[in-house]
């Protein structure tokens, strides 16, 4: 998992830079799609073994999906009605995908995954 995340980070960094330099709608779209990879990729750098490894993969996978849903929801739902609590749809996607779901998923997932002996992110890939 750590090797995969290093590759993902190594590719996404120059892609994000290019998107910023190109600018415009195209740059914004690429940036929105690729940016969520970075925090998830960094969190995947730790080396985990045993049953926890599967849990970490699921945990980070769900986080990534939530972040992508948030950024893509902002892009594609802008201007549409049908939100919640009087807020437009794009704002609801933003708040839920980028804020509320990660706020519930990450802290509780972290506490659950390392419930036995505490966090152990002291081993890295070679």
């Amino acid at each position: 998992m750590a090797r995969f995340s290093l590759i993902a980070l190594a590719i996404s960094s120059p892609v994000l830079l290019l998107a910023l330099l190109v600018g415009g709608e195209a740059g914004g779209f690429v940036f929105a799609v690729v940016a969520p990879i970075v925090p998830v990729g960094l969190m995947a750098l730790g080396r985990d073994g045993g049953p926890r490894r599967f849990g970490v993969v699921v945990w980070l996978g769900l986080l990534w999906l939530s972040l992508e849903a948030g950024t893509l929801g902002i892009l594609f739902a802008t201007g549409r009605t049908g939100g919640w609590l009087g807020l437009p749809a794009a704002t609801v996607w933003m708040l839920v995908g980028l804020g509320i779901v990660p706020l519930l998923l990450v802290p509780w997932g972290f506490a659950w995954l390392w419930r036995d002996e505490g966090p152990d992110a002291t081993r890295s890939r070679r």
């Binding site: 914004g28 940016a35 970075v38 990660p102 992110a121």
Partner: protein
């Protein structure tokens, strides 16, 4: 009307300062040596560490700058704070346990110390120290700007410059009182006060504007704000919006005022609960940003509040004109707490960089700590004041530059370097230098070819990561003699 016409507010402010001073004096009794001074003796529990991290992170940026930015660009501003949902976990997972383990093995008191332990290079440590100093001056400048806005209202001062000078005097005196032991325990008090302020002001803001649905409807139906105000891409470019998310979501890994707190926790197993306490407490504080950010435009749209001349006045104008005196007093104390807790952390970090880290890198003898420390505080505070006086923009934009300076320079080398042995001194140095030069360069000289809305900090962070991976691909840091890699990066 100013706060001076409402004496309870001034009384609340004075009481807050007295309580914080008392806690600071109590903490001084627990300071016996450098370990106590720099990392609270590594005796801090989960709640102290997590709330100290929160209050060091949340400052005038959140309580004044946030509502001000919202008034200017709408709910797009929330992209700055939404990452708090995962940044607590990101910090713990990527760096928290490693930094804590490092602090248990050897005397580590600063972020440059961590760079020195990992890379063993004076160039890398020197660049990291330079980054810490640059970011500290910028971040502190933002705190002074926020303090100026607040004190101008509290004391009814006509000139912002006078208020800023007053704020500078208060900050320096507060910081000189005691080192990090005073900071971390006063941070606990301040963190609690900040959370209370967040909840109380949010409830008052929504009520004052007529309830949630009426507030949102008033903003959407107004001519001056309109439905775009409520859209993420309504009043800001996509690259600005997503840039905020990237900078504040990833750049958190380079914030020394937060990372430093990991050295302090007494039991590393307690880090399991750290993301929950940190993210939860931050979410409560951010309620003020949301509540005031929506209420003020709604009140302006309804003709109950005059349009703001300065967007950064949003929170203080609301507190002055729409909250009971006691609530306003609590809120002022809470905002002061936010500013002082961050500023105190930064002053200490900047002083350590000047007095300890920089002389070591330059091979100079270590100066007498007490006198040198106080002089360093004055130097850092003076530079920050100069920046604050010259900066005429929004508090949040100076905050973005400051946060981005730390993040772009330090986050890639720390986050990847502490996990991948191939990252050596060359890659780390390239990354830090790229982050620093690109961020400061684009802030000072924005080229015409850079697209509208692109944040310099976002470009710098992406460039810094790219530089790290490019150099690491060419030069194998472990093979090149990263002698300290083996003990840290297993």
């Amino acid at each position: 009307m100013s706060f001076a016409d409402r004496p309870l507010i001034v009384v609340a402010t004075v009481c807050y300062l007295a309580i914080v001073t008392a806690v600071g004096l109590w903490s001084l009794g627990r300071t016996r040596d450098a370990r106590d001074f720099f990392i609270a003796g590594q005796r801090a529990g989960l709640w102290v560490t997590a709330l100290a991290t929160m209050s060091a992170a949340f400052s005038g940026f959140v309580f004044l700058g946030g509502p001000g930015l919202t008034y200017r660009i709408g709910l797009a501003s929330l992209m700055i704070v939404l990452p708090l949902g995962f940044t607590g976990g990101l910090l713990c997972r990527v760096l928290g346990t490693r930094l804590r383990a490092l602090a248990a093995e050897q005397p580590i008191y600063s972020v440059p110390d961590a760079f020195d332990a990992r890379f063993g290079s004076r160039v890398v440590t020197g660049l990291a120290t330079l980054a810490v100093l640059s970011g500290t001056v910028a971040y502190l400048g933002m705190q002074l700007q926020a303090l100026g806005v607040l004190l101008q209202a509290v004391f009814g001062l006509e000139r912002g410059a006078s208020a800023m000078l007053l704020g500078l005097a208060v900050l320096v005196a507060y910081s000189v009182l005691g080192g990090m032991v005073a900071g971390v325990y006063t941070d606990l008090v301040q963190g609690g006060l900040m959370m209370l302020t967040g909840i109380v002001v949010f409830l008052h803001a929504v009520a004052a504007a007529g309830g949630w649905h009426r507030t949102v409807a008033a903003v959407a139906e107004s001519a001056s704000f309109g439905p775009q105000f409520l859209e993420p891409l309504g009043r800001a470019a996509p690259l600005t919006v997503f840039g905020f998310f990237f900078v504040f979501g990833v750049g958190v890994l380079g914030q020394p005022q937060m990372l430093h707190k990991f050295y302090m926790i007494s039991d590393p197993k307690k880090l399991r609960w750290f993301p929950l306490v940190l993210s939860g407490s931050q979410a409560v504080c951010v309620l003020l940003w949301l509540g005031v950010g929506l209420a003020v435009p709604a009140l302006v749209a309804g003709g109950r509040l005059a349009p703001l001349e300065r967007a950064d006045e949003a929170a203080v104008r609301f507190l002055l004109e729409f909250t009971p005196e006691l609530v306003a007093g609590l809120a002022v104390a809470g905002i002061l707490a936010a500013i002082m807790s961050t500023a105190d952390s930064l002053l200490n970090i900047g002083a350590v960089a000047l007095v300890r880290d920089l002389p070591r890198v330059l091979g100079l003898g270590r100066p007498e700590p007490l006198a040198a420390g106080r002089a360093a505080v004055l130097i850092v505070a003076g530079l920050a004041a100069l920046l604050a006086f010259r900066h005429g923009g929004l508090i949040a934009m100076l905050g973005t530059m400051a946060f981005g300076t730390f993040g772009a320079a330090l986050a890639p080398a720390l986050a990847v370097g502490f996990h991948w042995r191939r990252v050596g001194a060359a890659a780390a140095a390239a990354s830090i230098a790229t982050g620093l030069v690109v961020n400061l360069g684009l802030e000072l000289w924005r080229p015409a070819w850079l697209a509208d809305g692109v944040l310099p900090a976002a470009v710098a962070l992406a460039a810094s990561f790219s530089a790290l991976f490019c150099v690491a691909a060419v030069i194998d840091g472990a093979a090149a003699g990263g002698r300290r890699a083996g003990s840290l990066v297993k």
